[in-house]
C-alpha cells in the first residue's frame, strides 16, 4: 500500500535536508522491520522546505506464531497419558480444549503448551504511532525552538501531509494535525491543495512550480546552464558544492545569465568567482579557464520575463566587485613582507602566541622537512614562503572573503614578483581542506602545508585543548586528514615521530603538557585518523590493524602495508601464513629474548628452517626497506614448508635449556622479520570469527 509523508517546513539548510532524508530512510526501515510490516519500496526526497518519504508497505503486520508454554509434560499427563488437573487447568486458562495441547521441546525438557497464530494488526494502526515518533527523533547539526512549543527541529514545521493507501493517516504532533493537503511554490502557488497518491502529489506540485525530486532539479539546472552557455561557447567555472547547494535551495530552478563591466576582468579568477559565489551564490563563466564578463544565477521561480531578477543581481554584483577591486588595489600597495610584520598583532592561539610566532616556527619546520625528504634544493624558497604565507590574514581581501586565505597570499606574492615556487607554495598551503579536496600540486606547497598543520596540531594539543566527538575548535581532525592525504598522495617518506619531536622542540617551553604526553597523544590521534582514512578507502579493519602492528612511523609505508595485505588476501598461501604467525606468537608469548647460535641446531628440520630463514631474510629485507611489502610477503610465503616440517618433527620446548632457547631464538628472529611487514596475528581468518 502506498505511503506518503511530507514534512513541510520553513527553509532548512541543505546539510540539514540531507541528513534528515538519510535519517528518515534508516528510521522507517528499522521501525517497520521491528514492527513486522514488510516494505517493498522506501525512498526519501526533498527540497529546502520539504522532507518527503515515499513507500510501499504491507497493509498489515505479518501474522506471528506465538508459543505459550504450560507445565512440564510429566506433570500434565499421567503415565497412562490421561490429562492431570494441571493440564486441564492450563487448557482452560488458555481457552482451548485439552486435545489441542501440544508437546513442546525446550532446553529444559518436554513441556505442554499451545501454539497460537497471532493476527497482525493493520499497518495504519502501527504507523500512526511510528510516524510522529520518527519525526520527533530526527536530529540536526543545530536545532531550534519556535513559538511556545518545546519541540526542537531544524526550522519551524508548517504542515504534515501523511497518506496511507490514498487516505489520510491522522495523528497529532506538537499541536499540528496531519493533513491530506500540501501547498505549492510559496510565492506563486501558496494555496492548499489535496492529493491522494504520490504520483498525483508529484504532478500537482510540478504544476504549482515545485520539483520535489532533487535529481530532477539538478538536471533542470544543468540543462538550462548548458542552453545559456552554448551561444557564448563558454563553460561554467566548476563548483560542485555550489551546484549541490542550489539544488536544495530552490524548489523550481530558473537559470539566468547576467553580465558585469569588463573593467573588473583584471581581477584574478579566484577573486571574481569568490565574490560571485559568496552572498549571491552565482557561478562564474569562463572560457579556457579565463573569466568572461558573465555570470549565471539560479533563482527560485519559473520566469524572469522582465529581466528584473537578472538586473537586480547585476547591480548587487557590481557593488561587490567594486569592493573586491578596492581591496585588491589597496592590498597591493604594500609588499607581503611589509604586511607580514602586522602578524605580530594577530593571535593564533592565546597560549601559543601570534601568527608572527607561527611563521617563525614554520620556517624551522620546513627547513627540517626539506632535509629529511631530500628537497634541499627548494629549502631557501620554502623558508621564504613560510615567512610570508600568513601575511594575507591582515589583508582587506581576506577580511572580506576568508575563504580566499592562502590563495590570495599566493596571488599577491605573484603580483609582487616573488619566485614562482614561493607564490605557489603560499597559494597551496591550506590544501587539502578535508579528504575530498586536492593535495597541493607542488612539493613546496605540500611541505608548507604539512608544516602548518603539524604546528597547529602539536600546539593545540600541547596547551591541553581536548578534541572530542563534538568539539574540535581548531579543526585538528581536518588538519590531520590533510597531513595524511598529502603524505599518501605525494608518497613522502620520513619519520613521523621524529617530526613530532622536532615540532615539540621548536615550541620549547610554550607548551604546558609534558612532551612525552603530547607526543603519545598525537601518535594515537594520527593512528585513529589513518584508521578512518583506510576504512574509508574500503580496507578491512583487521588488515589495517595488522599493518599498524608494524608501526606508523613511516606513514606512507603503513599505507603500502595495508595495500599489500589487501592485494594478497585471497592468495592460497595467505591464511596458512597467518595461522603460522599466530602459532609462533603463542609459543613466544612471555619469553625473554634469546640469541641464535647456529652451532646448536642439530636436527635436520631446524637446520633447514634456519637456512631457509637466512635466505628469505636476505631477499626480503631490501624489499621491506623500499616499501615493496607485497614482494616481501611473497618471499615469506616460501618459509611455510620448512616451518611446517619444523613444527612437525622438532620439539621447541626441548629438555635441554640451551637447545630450547636456541629454537626459541630462531622463532623470535622469524617473528621479528615478519613483524616488519605486518602483525599477522591481528588478521581474522575464516572459522575464527
Amino acid at each position: 500500500m502506498e505511503f506518503l509523508l511530507e514534512i513541510n517546513t520553513e527553509e532548512m539548510p541543505p546539510s540539514h535536508v540531507k541528513t534528515a532524508l538519510e535519517q528518515l530512510r534508516e528510521k522507517f526501515a528499522s521501525e517497520l522491520s521491528s514492527s513486522n510490516i514488510s516494505v517493498s519500496e522506501l525512498r526519501t526526497i526533498g527540497t529546502c522546505r520539504r522532507l518527503v518519504v515515499v513507500g510501499d508497505f504491507a497493509q498489515s503486520q505479518e501474522d506471528r506464531e506465538e508459543v505459550i508454554i504450560g507445565p512440564p509434560k510429566a506433570v500434565a499427563f499421567a503415565p497412562d497419558n490421561t490429562p492431570t488437573p494441571a493440564a486441564k487447568g492450563f487448557a482452560k486458562a488458555q481457552g482451548v480444549s485439552v486435545d489441542e495441547l501440544q508437546v513442546i521441546k525446550t532446553e529444559k525438557g518436554e513441556y505442554i503448551g499451545i501454539k497460537k497464530i497471532k493476527k497482525g494488526k493493520p499497518a495504519k494502526d502501527i504507523l500512526v504511532g511510528i510516524v510522529p515518533q520518527i519525526i520527533l527523533s530526527l536530529s540536526f547539526p543545530k536545532m531550534m525552538r519556535w513559538g511556545e512549543s518545546s519541540m526542537k527541529f531544524s526550522r519551524p514545521m508548517k504542515n504534515i501531509l501523511c497518506l496511507f493507501g490514498e487516505r489520510l493517516l491522522s495523528f497529532e504532533l506538537e499541536g499540528l494535525s496531519s493533513a491530506d493537503s500540501t501547498s505549492g511554490h510559496r510565492l506563486h502557488f501558496p494555496q492548499k491543495m489535496k492529493v491522494k497518491s504520490f504520483r498525483e502529489y508529484k504532478e500537482a506540485l510540478k504544476e504549482k512550480k515545485v520539483v520535489v525530486e532533487e535529481e530532477e532539479r539538478r538536471k533542470m539546472i544543468l540543462a538550462q546552464i548548458e542552453k545559456k552557455l552554448a551561444p557564448l561557447k563558454a563553460e561554467l567555472f566548476p563548483d560542485e558544492e555550489l551546484l549541490e547547494r542550489l539544488t536544495y535551495d530552490v524548489e523550481y530552478p530558473y537559470v539566468f545569465l547576467g553580465s558585469f563591466p569588463e573593467e573588473y576582468l583584471h581581477l584574478p579568477l579566484e577573486v571574481l568567482s569568490t565574490a560571485m559565489k559568496e552572498g549571491q551564490k552565482l557561478f562564474s563563466v569562463v572560457k579556457e579557464r579565463k573569466q568572461l564578463p558573465y555570470f549565471l544565477g539560479v533563482a527560485d521561480t519559473y520566469r524572469d520575463s522582465r529581466s528584473l531578477i537578472q538586473k537586480g543581481n547585476e547591480r548587487v554584483l557590481r557593488a561587490r566587485l567594486e569592493d573586491a577591486r578596492f581591496f585588491w588595489e589597496h592590498d597591493l600597495k604594500r609588499s607581503l613582507k611589509d604586511r607580514a610584520s602586522g602578524l605580530k598583532k594577530v593571535l593564533f592561539q592565546e597560549k601559543l602566541g601570534t601568527y608572527e610566532d607561527k611563521s617563525q616556527r614554520l620556517k624551522k619546520i620546513v627547513a627540517y622537512l626539506c632535509d629529511k625528504i631530500e628537497a634541499a634544493k627548494i629549502k631557501k624558497e620554502l623558508i621564504q614562503a613560510a615567512e610570508l604565507c600568513k601575511a594575507d590574514l591582515v589583508t582587506e581581501m581576506v577580511r572580506e572573503f576568508p575563504s580566499l586565505q592562502g590563495k590570495i597570499g599566493g596571488l599577491y606574492a605573484k603580483e609582487k614578483c616573488c619566485p614562482q615556487l614561493v607564490s605557489q607554495a603560499i597559494y597551496e598551503h591550506y590544501q587539502p581542506v578535508g579528504l575530498e579536496d586536492e593535495s597541493p600540486s607542488s612539493l613546496a606547497g605540500a611541505i608548507l602545508s604539512i608544516a602548518d598543520k603539524m604546528d597547529s596540531i602539536v600546539g593545540v594539543v600541547g596547551v591541553g585543548i581536548q578534541i572530542t566527538g563534538s568539539s574540535d575548535p581548531f579543526g585538528l581532525r581536518r588538519n590531520a586528514h590533510g597531513v595524511c592525504k598529502i603524505i599518501l598522495d605525494k608518497k613522502l617518506c620520513f619519520s613521523f615521530s621524529r617530526l613530532l619531536d622536532k615540532v615539540l622542540d621548536i615550541y620549547g617551553e610554550k607548551l604546558e603538557r609534558p612532551k612525552e604526553e603530547i607526543k603519545e597523544y598525537c601518535l594515537d590521534f594520527f593512528l585513529n585518523r589513518l584508521r578512518y582514512i583506510y576504512e574509508k578507502k574500503g580496507y578491512r579493519y583487521d588488515l589495517i590493524n595488522a599493518a599498524f602492528g608494524a608501526g606508523i612511523d613511516n606513514v606512507y609505508f603503513s599505507f603500502l602495508r595495508v595495500k599489500a595485505l589487501d592485494g594478497l588476501k585471497t592468495s592460497p598461501q595467505f591464511e596458512p601464513l597467518i595461522l603460522m604467525a599466530k602459532r609462533v606468537n603463542n609459543i613466544l608469548r612471555d619469553q625473554p629474548l634469546y640469541k641464535i647460535n647456529p652451532d646448536l641446531f642439530f636436527e635436520k628440520e631446524e637446520r633447514d628452517l634456519y637456512s631457509a630463514f637466512s635466505i628469505i631474510k636476505e631477499n626480503a629485507c631490501p624489499m621491506i626497506s623500499k616499501g615493496d611489502f607485497s614482494q616481501a610477503q611473497k618471499i615469506f610465503f616460501r618459509i611455510q614448508s620448512s616451518l611446517n616440517n619444523f613444527f612437525d618433527r622438532v620439539l621447541v620446548m626441548a629438555e635441554g635449556k640451551k637447545i630450547r632457547q636456541n629454537r626459541l631464538a630462531l622463532l623470535q628472529a622469524i617473528s621479528k622479520l615478519l613483524f616488519q611487514i605486518a602483525d599477522y596475528s591481528q588478521i581474522v581468518v575464516e572459522g575464527e570469527k
Binding site: 527553509e11 531550534m144 513559538g147 510565492l187 531578477i309 598583532k345
Partner: protein, 282 residues
C-alpha cells in the same frame, strides 16, 4: 517611494499587526537588537510586539562618504514578535507586498544565516532574506539572550532601510536615495559620514575612550548591585560603543578584543539573570 514613505508604510503595516510603535532609543547602538525594547523584552515570559526605526552605528564601516554602499551609521527597521507566529514568514512577505513589490516577478530567498551577538550573549537561528540577490532583512528566531534560553521564542525581523530603498528606487549609490520627495540622503548624511569617519578612524582620543570604558564598566557593576538594571544596561551600551570606537582606531589587539567583549558580556549576563529572576517573582 522615498525612505520616509517606506518607514510610514512599514509603521502602518506593523501597527496593523498589533505592534506597539516605539521610538528610536537615545543611545548609540550597533544594532536595533541591543536596545532595551528588544533586549529586555525577549527575556521575560510575556507576549510582546514592537516595531521601530533604530539608527545603528558601526564606526569601522565609515568610508568618508566615498563608498556608494558603506556607511558608519545606517537605519534599521526592527520588529519583534513574541511568541513567534506560525505564519510569520507569510506576514513578513505580506509586508514586502504592502510596499508595492510585485514579488512574483522577483526571486525571494530565505538564505541560511544564523545570527549571534557575543557582546550581549545572544544568538538565534534564521536567514538573511535576499531579494534578487540583495540582502534586505535579517530574520531570526532568538534562542538565547544574555546567556539565557528564551521562552517563548521571539522572532526578530531587521530590515535594512537603505538596502530596501536602493531596491525600490533601483539605485546603485546610497547618497542618491530620496529621504523625502525633495531631500536626498546626500543632503542629510554626507557631511556627517565625512566628519564621523575622520573621528572614528583618526581623531577619537584613545586615552579618553579607554578611560571612559573603564568608568562606565565600573558604573554598570555598581548599578547592578543596586538592582538598577535598566540604567546598568545603558552603561553596558556605552561600553560597547567605546569598544567599537577603540576598535576602529586600531587600538585593540586581537587578545584584548576577545577579553573586552567577554567583560561586557559578563555584565550583560548578570543583568539578564537579575531581570529574569525579578520577572519570575513578580
Amino acid at each position: 517611494m522615498s525612505i520616509q514613505d517606506l518607514v510610514i508604510n512599514l509603521q502602518k503595516f506593523w501597527a496593523d499587526q498589533g505592534c506597539y510603535l516605539a521610538q528610536p532609543y537615545d543611545l548609540e547602538v550597533g544594532a536595533g537588537t541591543m536596545t532595551p525594547d528588544t533586549f529586555f523584552r525577549v527575556l521575560d515570559k510575556r507576549s510582546w510586539k514592537v516595531a521601530y526605526v533604530q539608527p545603528a552605528r558601526r564606526p569601522k564601516d565609515g568610508r568618508y562618504g566615498e563608498n556608494p554602499h558603506r556607511v558608519q551609521k545606517h537605519f534599521q527597521y526592527q520588529v519583534i514578535i513574541k511568541p513567534s507566529l506560525p505564519d510569520i514568514q507569510q506576514v513578513y512577505i505580506d509586508s514586502l507586498v504592502s510596499l508595492g513589490i510585485a514579488l512574483e516577478d522577483h526571486d525571494l530567498r530565505f538564505d541560511e544565516d544564523d545570527w549571534e551577538s557575543p557582546t550581549i550573549g545572544a544568538w538565534g537561528v534564521g536567514w538573511q532574506v535576499l531579494l534578487d540577490g540583495l540582502e534586505i532583512t535579517q530574520f531570526t528566531y532568538f534562542q538565547q539572550a544574555g546567556g539565557i534560553d528564551v521562552s517563548p521564542v521571539p522572532v526578530e525581523m531587521t530590515y535594512g532601510l537603505e538596502r530596501l530603498e536602493m531596491f525600490l528606487e533601483g539605485k546603485d549609490n546610497i547618497y542618491d536615495l530620496n529621504w523625502s520627495a525633495d531631500t536626498s540622503y546626500r543632503d542629510l548624511r554626507l557631511q556627517e559620514e565625512r566628519e564621523f569617519s575622520d573621528y572614528n578612524f583618526n581623531q577619537a582620543s584613545v586615552d579618553t575612550l579607554q578611560k571612559s570604558f573603564l568608568l562606565y564598566e565600573k558604573e554598570a557593576s555598581r548599578l547592578i548591585q543596586k538592582d538598577l538594571l535598566l540604567p546598568a544596561y545603558d552603561m553596558c551600551l556605552k561600553c560597547s560603543h567605546f569598544f567599537n570606537l577603540l576598535d576602529s582606531r586600531g587600538a585593540i589587539s586581537v587578545t584584548e578584543r576577545v577579553k573586552m567583549i567577554a567583560r561586557i558580556r559578563a555584565l550583560v549576563n548578570q543583568i539578564a539573570q537579575k531581570y529574569t529572576a525579578r520577572e519570575a517573582s513578580a
